[in-house]
């Protein structure tokens, strides 16, 4: 776990350095709707862009505005300041308006050597599924064409099986996290996802085995309440730490650097690996950028609340994040209907000035749910 905690706090971790030293390419992506199996099947390392709590946005603010989400501004800032110069390309998706703007500005100011736009439909139905399959084939071809690597069915199946195994291991970790005597803090779990999306999956699989073994008998205590956190993209380990430092153990989540990145994906046997991936990624994205499936998102959170015996839910969104800003209101209403206490937080990404206010609100929430 120590290795995960250390490496997850670096943009260019040791695994990326080793990968680059052996002259192999790294491709960036941002959204969990990006099937990384296709990238890895080409012998390319997929790297999920993050800001790691960096709140500096001076360079980015010349391009994006203060009305854009500060997570995207922070990522753009890192990109334009050279922190991501190790990337050999970028995959854009139409995740949200801010994300699109971030990538468009990044590419405008500092052209990516390789750039591909993977278009992800926002409503699941037969025609959009067919369209997404075609999009995945174009994405596959683009990677093959630029990097000169063959991505064949055999390679795709191998990656799909690897991700299936990883998913099972992550589920084991979640069982250990969500059980009555939890074995992980929420901050540790976030660190696993951070590192896991910045290293080769084959390495991640081994690390997960080690972590499961290491934590099998560990139990955490001394916390006031069991919490679930859901909402906007966040890679702020310190934000989770702050919550846990004042007594709220984050025993589950519905974050895209968390359970939403693996749990809902269901493997279904089919002859064509691209069809398998299209269905796995699009059908249960559980992101509010999708329409017509709020009930699925609500059920996902309610199930996690029940499974992990959660006492309170924190719904968080980065200022100006519209998709989560609105969805969190719907979720709050739905959860409160079920008698689940909810704290809705709007915050600036990485903003240290915000810490005091957020801590006070979480403290008050903990007092509310524990009745003292």
């Amino acid at each position: 776990m120590d290795e995960i905690l250390k490496q997850s706090q670096l943009i260019e971790n040791d695994y990326v350095k080793q990968w680059k030293n052996s002259a192999k390419p790294v491709v960036g992506y941002i959204c969990v709707a990006t099937p990384i199996e296709i990238i890895e099947a080409g012998g390319i390392l997929p790297y999920r862009v993050r800001a790691l709590g960096s709140s500096s946005t001076e360079i980015a603010d010349a391009h994006l505005s203060r009305f854009n989400c500060s997570f995207c501004r922070s990522c753009l800032n890192l990109g334009l300041s050279g922190a991501y110069d190790f990337l050999d390309g970028m995959i854009e998706t139409n995740g949200c308006d801010h994300l699109r703007g971030m990538i468009e500005n990044w590419n405008y100011v500092k052209k990516f050597a390789f750039f591909h736009y993977l278009r992800v439909p926002q409503i699941v139905e037969e025609d959009s599924m067919t369209y997404f399959e075609e999009e995945l084939r174009l994405y596959q071809k683009a990677l093959e064409g630029h990097f000169g690597r063959k991505i064949d069915d055999e390679g795709l199946w191998a990656q799909i099986q690897l991700q299936n195994r990883i998913r099972e291991k992550l589920k084991t970790i979640y069982q250990m996290r969500e059980r009555e005597q939890s074995s992980f803090t929420g901050a540790e779990i976030l660190s696993i996802f951070l590192l896991g999306s910045a290293i080769p999956s084959s390495v991640l699989e081994k690390l997960l085995d080690r972590v499961i073994e290491e934590r099998r008998n560990k139990t955490l205590d001394g916390y006031k309440a069991r919490l679930l956190i859901a909402g906007s993209i966040t890679d702020e380990v310190n934000f989770i730490k702050e919550i846990e430092n004042i007594g709220g153990l984050v025993v589950s989540d519905a974050l895209c650097y968390g359970s939403r990145a693996f749990w809902p994906r269901v493997y279904e046997e089919q002859k064509d690996p691209i069809k398998v991936l299209a269905k796995m990624y699009l059908e249960n994205l559980l992101c509010p950028r999708m329409f017509n499936d709020f009930s699925k998102r609500r059920e996902f959170v309610l199930n996690a609340v029940q499974r992990a015996k959660v006492e309170g839910v924190i719904l968080v969104h980065n200022k100006f994040c519209d998709v989560h800003g609105v969805d969190n209101v719907q979720l709050r209403i739905a959860l409160e209907k079920e008698g689940i206490p909810v704290l809705q937080l709007e915050k600036d990404y990485g903003g240290k000035a915000d810490t005091g206010r957020l801590k006070t609100r979480v403290q008050a929430f903990l007092e509310r749910i524990k009745g003292h």
Binding site: F67, D97, E104, E134, F294, V326
Partner: protein, 472 residues
């Protein structure tokens, strides 16, 4: 009809119903008389009337209000006539709904705009109602003013909501989804693939076919080919008039009053494809042509010609549209005018449905920031308008909720400056709610920009397009 309604829609319906019972000359005279009796009016009403009943605007204002009166009363009387009211966003082609006998469209942004223009309190209480539910303050006021009123459950409730914003605007899509879930109203979607290849449009046409089928089932009426043809032919007439108005804008000084920009897309978003829509546009053309002949302009001279690249400001028509032209600053139109409608082939049902898909594809916002590149099509459209209409500058209103345009306005600014040599001003303000940036501050910024930047550039002849035209 409630005597003292509290909801935005009901209040507007009452006001417009009152206007519609009187013959036009009486309303015209009454409006002018009211302006002379400022003390009996509240500031908000006086402000709106002074813009609408300014000499250069009043004939078109009358036609526009008459048209809106029909639009809103159709929705008001819908349930009594066995019709369904479908709430649509501004980027949905309303002619698709006009083609049904048993359905009427209502556009949420237009209702918000009318509330902001014409109601005491300018609709802010409805915005506050939405905020009270916990919705974030970075929602779009264009939707939230009206939807706040719907959410209060003290106003009309649409029978269904159509959302065509997925792919073009997150915030618009999400607020409509929220209202649908909160009130248990069915919702239908027209998602826009951010794909400028033929593949994207092909899929979009399939979605349009599917949407029509869903609507037919919901409304309980098969869309008739004949009725659709009649509507589309009228829509084609609207298109011809749109381009007539576009062309008249090219004259120097511009004979088209600034407020016509709002009237033009007001028609597009409500009654496109109807007789009332045609009548309003014809009045606009008639007045604009007359002014062209007379070389009429509200100020002594036209000082600067401005393209507003996205929305304008609607909370103070007199302080914005009228004030600008009284300074000699022509508002040549804004991003919402940039829908560039096409003449639709009405020879078959399939062609007409494809035509509807094309119209939806080309609606403002959808065709620009809903494109494959958020800045790409937007830049092309703005530069085209700048070139065609001989603009001296571009101004971005900076409506705070437009995260997509805020995301790429820096690219637009760079490209406009690089390719045309004219400057682009980025303002900050809410287009519908005055509490964010008062009109006096905006006026000052526009004034300083034009005097210190635009006019200097003009004097230095740094405009690339003009220079290259001369060289040609």
């Amino acid at each position: 009809m409630k005597l003292f309604p509290v909801g935005l829609f009901d209040r507007l319906a009452n006001q417009l119903a009152f206007l519609s019972i009187w013959p036009a000359p009486i309303v015209r005279t009454f409006g002018s008389l009211l302006l002379k009796a400022k003390r009996i009016l509240d500031d908000d009403t006086y402000n709106a009337l002074s813009a609408l009943f300014a000499e250069r605007n009043k004939d078109v204002s009358m036609a526009f209000l008459k048209m809106l009166s029909k639009w809103i009363s159709s929705a008001k009387n819908a349930s009594g006539e066995g019709k369904k009211v479908l709430l649509v966003p501004f980027n949905f082609p309303v002619e698709a709904i006009h083609a049904f006998d048993k359905a009427v469209p209502l556009t949420s942004e237009v209702l918000s705009t009318l509330g902001v223009i014409g109601l005491k309190g300018q609709g802010e209480q409805y915005w506050d109602m939405a905020m009270a539910l916990g919705l974030p303050d970075h929602m779009c006021s264009a939707n939230t003013v009206e939807l706040g009123s719907v959410l209060s459950e003290e106003d009309f409730k649409p029978d269904a909501i159509i959302s065509s914003a997925p792919g073009g605007c997150d915030v618009n899509s999400k607020i409509h989804e929220f209202v649908s879930n909160y009130l248990g109203i069915p919702q239908f979607f027209l998602q826009k693939p951010p794909d400028d290849s033929g593949k994207g449009f092909k899929l979009y046409t399939i979605y349009m076919h599917k949407l029509i089928k869903q609507l037919e089932e919901f409304i309980g009426e098969k869309m008739s080919e004949e009725k659709l043809r009649r509507v589309m032919e009228k829509a084609n007439r609207c298109t011809e008039l749109y381009y007539e108005i576009w062309d008249i804008h090219k004259a120097v000084p511009c004979p088209v009053p600034n407020l016509f920009s709002l009237f033009l897309y007001g028609v597009r978003f409500t009654m496109w494809g109807t007789d009332e829509g045609i009548e309003t546009l014809e009045t606009m053309v008639k007045i604009a042509k007359k002014r062209l002949q007379e070389k009429a302009y509200p100020a002594e001279k036209e000082v600067a010609r401005c393209i507003w690249c996205y929305t304008s400001y609607y909370f103070d028509l007199a302080g914005f549209f009228n004030w600008m032209e009284e300074q000699g600053y022509t508002h040549l139109g804004d991003g919402l005018d940039l829908c560039f409608p096409k003449i639709i082939d009405t020879s078959s049902m399939d062609n007409m449905v494809e035509g509807l898909a094309l119209s939806a594809w080309n609606m403002p916002m959808t065709r620009q920031v809903g494109g494959e590149s958020m800045s790409g099509s937007w830049t092309e459209d703005v530069i085209y308008a700048v070139t065609e209409l001989n603009a001296d500058c571009v101004i971005y209103c900076g409506h705070h909720s437009c995260k997509q345009t805020w995301s790429v306005v820096s690219i637009l600014r760079n490209e406009v400056q690089k390719r045309t040599g004219i400057p682009l001003l980025v303002l900050q303000g809410d287009s519908w709610i005055k509490r964010m940036t008062p009109i006096s501050v905006l006026q000052k910024e526009i004034d300083e920009f034009i005097k210190n930047v635009v006019l200097r550039k003009k004097a230095q002849g740094k405009r690339k397009i003009r220079r290259s035209k001369k060289e040609d």
